[in-house]
């Protein structure tokens, strides 16, 4: 698990996005708590940078057109 977390960090992703927890079937309370905590953590981290990267222009200028500063893709009033 540590190796995967390290690898994620090397790739440029938050290592907190992956976690392994050992629980028995009798530990439903703990399961719910861990799931809630994990959901909260990942929500706080926001969408995967990989998803965001899909919409980002490449350095060579090819790829998707960047949003105009005052364009529709900006914040909704």
């Amino acid at each position: 698990m540590k190796r995967i977390q390290d690898l994620l960090a090397q790739i440029g992703l938050e290592s907190e996005r992956v976690r392994m927890v050992n629980l028995s079937s009798a530990m439903s309370g703990q399961f719910a708590a861990v799931a809630a905590e994990m959901t909260e953590q990942v929500t706080a981290l926001g969408p995967s940078p990989l998803r965001r990267a899909e919409a980002r222009p490449t350095e060579t200028g090819e790829g998707p057109v960047p949003p105009a500063p005052d364009g529709n893709l900006g914040e909704q009033p």
């Binding site: 440029g12 992703l13 940078p49 990989l50 899909e54 350095e59």
Partner: protein
Amino acid sequence: MIVAEQKKLAELKQLIGEAENVLVVGCGTCVTVCFAGGAREAAIAATSLRMASRLDGAERDVSDVTVQRQCEWEYLDQLADQVAAADVVLSLGCGVGVQALVEHFPDAWVVPGLNTSFLGLPTEQGVWAERCAACGDCILGLTGGICPIARCSKSLLNGPCGGSEAGHCEIDPNVPCAWHLIVDRLQGMNKLHVLLDLQPPKNWRAARDGGPRTITRDDLRLAAEED
């Protein structure tokens, strides 16, 4: 077997440079057994590079393939098309594998994804230790089958030096003193007398010091048979 370690992703990225088509080539022999460059590691390396390049905003096409033995040309033939299509071949073979690819595909740009470390064995799951220095003139018969060339930090032939303590080497408490092992073993087998003769200076010419080495067996050469 040959024991290797994978380079860090940052170095792999640097080695790949601006290439758009990357082919990661794993090897199914030694480096598979030491979890450095087998099919699984090749797939993980390729995925990691794809993800990282996307995050860097310069998405690349990274694919992977693993051959049974990267150090034999006949196993490399099957890669011809993939290698030809790639801008860079990232070899997860040992240093021999990298060079086999270069020699077989002279037009390809091949970079190493591993640091080839030593000839050794796993002493427990997850731990590998050096055992042989490939010195070309084996003396294991004089030392009870424990190699001081590979395992003594100073490659002493008439050891142990004064830096042996409680069974470990002066350089690191985790490194066993090879000469302590040798003395213990020979003592236990009533063969300590073997160590009392002065061993003369070693012929290092048989090792790398004599220049790059080649072994030619005329009885096996097809070219020789044709003569």
